[in-house]
Symmetry: C2
């Protein structure tokens, strides 16, 4: 999360400096009235690759950003929520989809937007899915040759689908980074 | 991160409600003057289990919380920082320690404090280490039978050391949850 802090969330003062606190080595938003430091750190996105009879579940986004583009069910992890629970919740919210055998598939750092993107893989329970209220216009199972590569919502979704179809399945999660340099996305597998 | 928001970070208004925004299902701090929503989400802690000749590197904390207790090098991931880089940075900051072969060892959700704790495992480069400025009083390599189990800083550190010494090494990261119920920590391996 990166948001400009204009007023102190604690005392309300507008005397906010963006400076390195004592003993630290990174700039933070510091209140000069009450000394409160507004830390900002990366967010976690958790989601699922759900498979049914060789096909993968995608959702057509009914919300911005990337309205109308296809995505894997995924979203921000909430406070007090276990990681796997967050991934499962997103599958339920976006696609009314469930899985009983989720395991970690990939962990990527999205540097330009300060997100850690953790995807699980599992079997879609009973092959059932439908668009989640408010979140998706449509849900659909796609075989590899049917994936709408030009209509995917985000580079990290493309990367996960490529990893899924290209790579040997192992217990070791796929890892890497995504960054945006100018208008270009730079993806490095590690 | 869970912090009470008393004033809007954008417009400075003190008219803050803790309520569910339209289209959401979770309470957030909402500014009633400018409608800004102050989202709060889990933080990521990244760290390392560094091994040298069968011994594990621990650091004696020179900072609160848990001053004087022993810990694995770990700390909050920063914005725009790749996960593995954060783990390596913490090892450098706390123990002047490096590794060339870091791989993911465990991923735990610390529910009661909304942290996702991701530990890497690697060989301590050249067996070298020393207390990091301001962060550690002492660094030391411990064999399994020497680990100061009663002087470890956090339950998640104990859990990682137990996993390391007890469990078979696989490519699959260890996963689980830690929660605090009353005064008791409840650890569940998944």
């Amino acid at each position: 999360m990166k948001i400009e802090i204009k007023n102190c969330s604690q005392c309300g003062s507008s005397k906010i400096d963006f400076a390195i606190p004592p003993g630290d080595n990174k700039k933070r938003y510091i209140c000069r009235s009450c000394n409160f430091i507004h830390y900002q750190n990366p967010n976690i996105v958790a989601g699922c690759i759900l498979e049914w009879e060789g096909k993968i579940l995608l959702c057509k986004r009914a919300i911005e950003p990337r309205l109308n583009y296809w995505t894997l069910p995924a979203g921000f992890l909430e406070n007090e929520e276990p990681l796997e629970f967050g991934a499962a919740r997103e599958s339920k919210e976006e696609a009314n989809a469930y899985s009983n055998d989720l395991r970690i598939f990939s962990i990527y750092s999205l540097i330009h937007i300060s997100q850690i993107y953790i995807m699980y893989y599992g079997t879609l329970k009973d092959g059932k899915h439908s668009p989640g209220l408010e979140e998706s216009f449509e849900t659909k199972l796609y075989a590899q040759e049917e994936i709408p590569w030009d209509e995917l919502a985000f580079p990290i979704i493309t990367e996960n689908l490529k990893l899924f179809f290209d790579k040997e399945k192992t217990d070791k999660p796929h890892t890497g980074t995504v960054d945006k340099v100018g208008d270009e996305y730079k993806i490095i597998r590690s």
